[in-house]
Amino acid sequence: MNHLKFCLFFCSVFCSMVSIAADDPYAAKRAAMIKEIEGDVRAGYGYLEKDALDENVIGALGSVPRHEFVPRNMREAAYENRPLPIGHGQTISQPYIVAIMTNLLQVGKSDRVLEIGTGSGYQIAVLATLVDKAYSIEIIEPLGRQAKQRLQRLGYENIELKIADGYYGWPEEAPFDAIMVTAAASHIPPPLIKQLKPGGRMLIPVGSRFMVQELLLVQKSASGEISTRQLLPVAFVPLTGRH
C-alpha cells in the first residue's frame, strides 16, 4: 500500500514538474536541487532520525519557485545548495536547511503555522503548500513589503503577512500548531511559547545569517510542559570510538 502511495505521489510530482517545465526554465534545476538535498539527508540520517524527507516536504520544495525569492541577479544561483544574500542584511536559507526545518515541524494540512522573520518569504511559501493557513511576521518594513507583493504575485493566498514586532506573536490567530522563528533574538520570547498549542512544535535555527550552528526544537507537551531538543544540522558525533 505504501509503495502504491509512493508511486502515486512520485507520478504526481513528476507530472507537475513536467507541466511546469514547459514554462518554467528553472524546473530542472529545482529537481536537481531536491535530488541533492535528498542525498544529503540520506547521508545525515542520524539527524532527522530517519533516512528520508517526508513526501509532502519534497512536494512542497518542488512546487515553490525559489528563483522568484532571490534578487534578479542571483537567479542562476537560486537552486544551488547554499544561502544567498537578499539585501537588507538578510539571507534566504540554504535549501537543505529549509528542507530539514520544514520536515522537523511535521505540519499537517489543518495545522496553523506562524513564522517570525519572513525575509524573502520562501520558507513560509514552502510551509503554506503544506497547510491551509500560514501566518508570517516581518520586522523590517521594506523587506516585509517586498515579500507581501511577491507572495501575492505568486498566488499564495493562504498566507497572511504583517509588518510588526514578532516578539508578541500573533495573539488574534493563536494558538499555533507550529512556529518557526528565523529572526535573531537574545532569548525565546515567552509570548510565542504561550501561543504554541499543547503538542505543538517551535523551531529556531541558531547561528549566523549564513551558517546555522544548531536547530532548536521547542516542544510543548499535552500537559503544557516545555522542553527543547538541540540538533546539529549535520550527522556529527563529537566523540570518536566507544564511551
Binding site: I188, P190, G207, F210, Q213, S227, R229, F236, P238
Partner: protein, 807 residues
C-alpha cells in the same frame, strides 16, 4: 650637492606607518570581524617585502632621482593611506560567503592589494634611503625604530580623542608632513611649490575623510539592529579598546536577556544597547523602581548561586552595561563590587545614563572599578562570598569560533586559582558561558576548573563543582569547600523550576541528566564525568575538539580546533557541516600559507629578474643573506610578541601593556641601532654581532626562567611603579635586539650595497610570517617555546652573519 639622509622624515613616516597599521586593525575590526582584520592587515604588510623586491630590481633608476622618488613615495603613502582604506571598505566582501561565492576571494584580494599600497610606498622610501645612504644605515634605522615607537604610543592616545576615521585623516596628514620635512631635509628645488601642493593635498584628504562614513558589514549585529524602525545611534565613543555605539530603540524594545528560561513570563524593562565595534551588545537597563521588573534576572542560569546561599559581598568581573550588578541587587546582596575594563562604558553608566539607571552607581552599596579582571582579583585585599565572571562576548562570534586567535587570561588555570584564593570559605566562583554545539567552551571550562582545584591542593575536585545549563548558556559553580546536600537540593529546585539541566553535582546519577534541553547524548554529563575520572586523558584525546585547559603560557581558551577532524568536517560541508569549523584558527593558517607563498615569490623574484651581469652579488653568499635576515626578522617579533603577552599579566591591562611594551621595544631597539653605528664606524662587525646575540640569548633565557618569580615579587606595586620597572626590564634586551639588523645592513653596505633593498625585503617578509607564526606556535606549544625558538634563531643569525666571500 651632497645629500644628507632624511632622518626626521623617516622618523615621521615610520610613526605614521605604525600608527596606520594599528588603526587599520581597529577600522577593519569595526567594519568586518577581528579575525579577518588580522588576516588583511598581516598580508598588507607584505608591502614591505614587495618594496625590497621593487627597489632591488630598479635601484639604479630610482637612485638617479633619489630626492624626487623619495618625496613621491612618502607623498603617495600619505594619500593612499586614506584613499585606499576608503576604497577597500567599499568592496562588498563577506567572509561568511567565501566558501560559497567565487567572487568573495577576488574581493578579498582586491582589499589586500589596496591596503598593500600604502605600506609599499612607505617601505620603498625607507628601503631606498637605507640603500642610498648605506654608510649611515644604523642611524637611519634608529630613526625608523624611534618613529615607529612614537607612532605606536601616539595612536593609542589619538584614538581616545579622535573617531577612527578622523584618526585616519590625522595619519594621512602626518604622512604629508613627512613629505614636507623630506623636501626640506633633501633641499629639493622648488620647495615652496611642494609645500603648496602638500597643503592642498592635506585639505583634500581632510575633506574626503569628513565626507566619508565607516561602512559596517550589513551582517554585523549593529547593522542588523539599525534595520528596525525607530532605532538610532544616539552616541559614538572612540577608544583604542573599541568603538562604542549607543543604540536607542524608540518603537520596539531591545529585550536583551540571553539564556532566559523557557518558563519565564516577564520581559526586561526598557534598555539601551551598547555595541563594541558594531557587535557584542551589552544592555543598560532602565530603573523602574519596581523590583519585580527585574525578575527576569532570576530566570537565567547565572542566578543559580543566589539560590544556594545568601552572599554578603559579591564581585562581578565584567560589569558591561550592568546586568550582573542588577542581578546581584535583585537578590538583595548588601555589598557589590564590579570591574569593567572600558572607562567609556563606565562613563555612560555613571554620567550619560545615570538618570536612566536611577543612578545605579550612586548606590553606596555598589562600587564599580575601572580595571582588568585578572589584575583586580590579584590585587584585591578582601575575600568575596561570590565572584561572578559575567558573559559579555557575543554568541555569534563565540559560536563561529572567531575568538580562536584571542588570548584570554581570564579563563586560564592560573586565573581560576587566583579567583579561588579570593573566596571566603564556603564562597562560590560562578562562570557563565554560551552553550555551543557540539559542546566546547563549557567543557573546557570544566576541565580548567578541575585543574585549578587540583593545583590548589584539592584532592577531590568533584565535591566542589556544580554545573547547569539551559539551551543557550551554561554556568559552572566552583565552591571553596565541599558542596552540601542542602545546596544540591536548592540547585535541583532552581533548575527544575526553570527547565534547566544539571550536568554535574556531587553524587549525580546518569538518569537525572538531559531532561529539559535534550541532546542526542547527555554530552555534558558524560564529559564532566570523564574529565573527573581516570579516563580523562583518553577522553580528551578522543573528543573531536580540543578541551585541554588554557594556561598563562598558552592562553587560548577559545581554541578548539583539532586537525584530525578536518577531513570529516570538510566532507560534511554540503550537509550543513561548515559551522563546525573553527573559523578563526583556519583564517590564521590561511594567512600563514598566503604569507609564505607571497614571501617566497617576493624573495626569489629579484634573483630571477635581475640580468646576469647585474646578478645581485658575488661578493657575499645570497643564501647567508637570506638566512640571516629571515632569522632576525622572525626572532625579533617572536620575542616582542611573547614578552608583550608576559607583561600583560604583570601590567594587567591588555591595551596599555601592548602599547607600553611595543613602544619600549622599538625605542630601546632604536637606541641599540644608534649605538651600533659607533661600532660600525670602527669596523667592529663581528664583535658587535657576537655581543648583541650573546646579550639577547642570555637576557632572554634569564627572563624566561625568572620573569614569573620577578612578577610575583613586584605584583603588589602600583602601576606607576610597575611602568619604570617594565621599561628597565625591556631596555637591555631591546637594546641588543636593535643591533643585528643595522650591523648586517652596514656590513652589506661595505661589501655588497646593492643587496640592501633585498635584505630589507627579506626581513619585511619574515616579519609578516613571524607575527602569524608566533600565534600558531603559542597555541600549539606556548609562549616560552616561542622565546626558545627566537633565541635559537638569533644563534642561527650569528652563524650566518654576511661575510665577504673569498674569490
Amino acid at each position: 650637492m651632497k645629500l644628507h639622509p632624511p632622518f626626521f622624515s623617516i622618523g615621521l613616516l615610520s610613526a605614521a606607518m605604525l600608527a596606520y597599521e594599528i588603526l587599520l586593525m581597529r577600522l577593519f575590526s569595526i567594519i568586518q570581524w577581528h579575525h579577518f582584520a588580522y588576516m588583511i592587515i598581516s598580508l598588507a604588510l607584505l608591502g614591505f617585502g614587495a618594496s625590497g623586491t621593487f627597489v632591488s630590481i630598479l635601484q639604479k633608476s630610482l637612485f638617479r632621482h633619489f630626492s624626487s622618488v623619495f618625496l613621491l613615495n612618502v607623498g603617495l603613502f600619505a594619500v593612499s593611506s586614506v584613499v585606499c582604506f576608503l576604497l577597500a571598505q567599499s568592496v562588498p566582501f563577506n567572509p561568511d560567503e567565501i566558501l560559497w561565492d567565487s567572487q568573495q576571494p577576488v574581493r578579498l584580494l582586491v582589499i589586500f592589494l589596496l591596503l598593500t599600497l600604502p605600506f609599499f610606498f612607505a617601505a620603498n622610501a625607507i628601503a631606498m634611503t637605507l640603500s642610498y645612504f648605506h654608510d649611515r644605515v644604523a642611524r637611519i634605522y634608529a630613526f625608523d625604530l624611534f618613529g615607529a615607537g612614537l607612532g605606536s604610543l601616539s595612536v593609542v592616545a589619538l584614538l581616545f580623542v579622535a573617531m577612527p576615521l578622523q584618526a585616519l585623516a590625522v595619519i594621512g596628514c602626518i604622512g604629508l608632513l613627512a613629505t614636507a620635512v623630506a623636501a626640506w631635509e633633501l633641499k629639493v628645488t622648488g620647495r615652496n611649490w611642494v609645500f603648496a601642493v602638500l597643503a592642498m593635498s592635506s585639505a583634500g584628504l581632510i575633506m574626503l575623510d569628513m565626507r566619508s562614513e565607516l561602512q559596517l558589514s550589513p551582517y554585523k549585529e549593529l547593522s542588523q539592529m539599525l534595520r528596525i524602525s525607530g532605532t538610532e545611534i544616539a552616541g559614538e565613543y572612540s577608544s583604542p579598546l573599541g568603538l562604542l555605539s549607543v543604540l536607542h530603540s524608540h518603537i520596539i524594545p531591545l529585550r536583551h536577556a540571553p539564556g532566559l528560561s523557557l518558563n519565564a513570563s516577564n520581559e526586561p524593562p526598557a534598555q539601551i544597547g551598547v555595541f563594541t565595534d558594531g557587535g557584542g551588545m551589552t544592555a543598560i537597563t532602565r530603573e523602574t523602581g519596581n523590583s519585580a521588573d527585574y525578575a527576569y534576572l532570576d530566570q537565567i542560569t547565572s542566578a543559580a548561586p543566589y539560590h544556594l546561599f545568601q552572599p554578603a559581598h559579591v564581585l562581578v568581573l565584567g560589569a558591561g552595561g550592568g546586568s550582573s550588578i542588577l542581578q546581584a541587587r535583585y537578590h538583595a546582596v548588601p555589598k557589590i563590587d564590579a570591574v569593567e575594563l572600558n572607562p567609556q562604558l563606565i562613563q555612560l553608566l555613571r554620567n550619560d545614563y545615570a538618570d536612566f539607571t536611577g543612578d545605579l552607581l550612586g548606590n553606596k552599596n555598589i562600587r564599580l572599578y575601572e580595571g582588568e579582571a585578572r589584575g583586580f582579583v590579584a590585587d584585591a585585599s578582601v575575600q568575596y562570598d561570590l565572584i561572578e565572571v559575567a558573559l559579555l562576548d557575543s554568541f555569534a562570534a563565540s559560536s563561529a569560533g572567531l575568538y580562536a586567535l584571542n588570548e584570554s587570561y581570564l579563563y586560564t588555570v592560573e586565573a581560576l586559582q587566583d579567583m579561588l584564593k579570593k573566596l571566603q570559605p564556603g564562597g562560590y566562583l560562578a562562570i557563565t558561558r554560551w552553550i555551543k554545539l557540539p559542546p566546547r567552551d563549557t567543557l573546557k571550562l570544566f576541565a580548567t576548573a578541575v585543574d585549578a582545584l587540583k593545583n590548589s591542593g584539592v584532592e577531590n575536585p568533584e565535591w566542589q563543582l556544580l554545573f547547569l545549563r539551559s539551551w543557550q548558556t551554561g554556568t559552572l559553580l566552583i565552591k571553596n569547600g565541599t558542596v552540601t546536600a542542602t545546596e544540591t537540593a536548592a540547585l535541583k529546585k532552581f533548575a527544575t523550576d526553570r527547565s534547566f539541566d544539571i550536568a554535574w553535582y556531587p553524587g549525580i546519577q546518569s538518569g537525572e541528566v538531559n531532561h529539559y534541553n535534550r541532546l542526542a547524548e547527555p554530552y555534558f554529563y558524560q564529559a564532566a564525568a570523564a574529565i573527573l575520572s581516570d579516563e580523562r586523558a583518553d577522553f580528551l584525546d578522543r573528543y573531536k575538539f580540543s578541551l585541554q585547559p588554557a594556561t598563562d603560557d598558552r592562553p587560548y581558551f577559545f581554541h578548539f580546533f583539532k586537525w584530525s577532524v578536518l577531513p570529516e568536517i570538510f566532507s560534511l560541508r554540503e550537509k550543513g557541516g561548515l559551522p563546525l569549523l573553527e573559523g578563526g584558527y583556519l583564517v590564521l593558517i590561511a594567512t600563514l600559507v598566503q604569507a609564505l607563498i607571497a614571501s617566497v615569490i617576493l624573495i626569489l623574484l629579484p634573483l630571477f629578474v635581475t640580468s646576469k651581469e647585474k646578478r645581485l652579488s658575488s661578493s657575499v653568499s645570497n643564501s647567508r643573506v637570506v638566512l640571516y635576515f629571515l632569522s632576525i626578522g622572525l626572532a625579533f617579533l617572536f620575542i616582542e610578541i611573547a614578552f608583550i603577552q608576559k607583561f600583560i599579566l604583570f601590567l594587567h591591562h591588555p591595551l596599555y601593556a601592548v602599547a607600553l611594551v611595543l613602544t619600549a621595544f622599538l625605542i630601546f631597539a632604536g637606541l641599540g641601532s644608534g649605538f651600533s653605528w659607533r661600532l660600525v664606524m670602527r669596523g667592529y662587525y663581528r664583535h658587535a654581532i657576537t655581543v648583541s646575540v650573546l646579550g639577547i640569548v642570555v637576557l632572554g633565557l634569564l627572563y624566561m626562567l625568572f620573569i614569573g618569580t620577578l612578577f610575583a615579587q613586584f605584583q603588589s606595586l602600583s602601576i606607576t611603579a610597575k611602568i619604570p620597572l617594565t621599561l628597565t626590564m625591556i631596555a637591555p634586551l631591546a637594546f641588543f635586539m636593535g643591533m643585528p639588523f643595522p650591523l648586517a645592513l652596514a656590513k652589506l653596505g661595505d661589501i655588497a650595497p646593492n643587496l640592501i633593498p633585498w635584505a630589507w625585503g627579506v626581513n619585511g617578509c619574515a616579519s609578516v610570517v613571524s607575527a602569524v607564526l608566533a600565534t600558531i606556535l603559542a597555541i600549539a606549544v606556548g609562549f616560552n617555546a616561542v622565546i626558545v625558538l627566537a633565541l635559537s634563531l638569533y644563534g642561527l643569525a650569528w652563524l650566518s652573519f654576511p661575510e665577504q666571500q673569498a674569490d
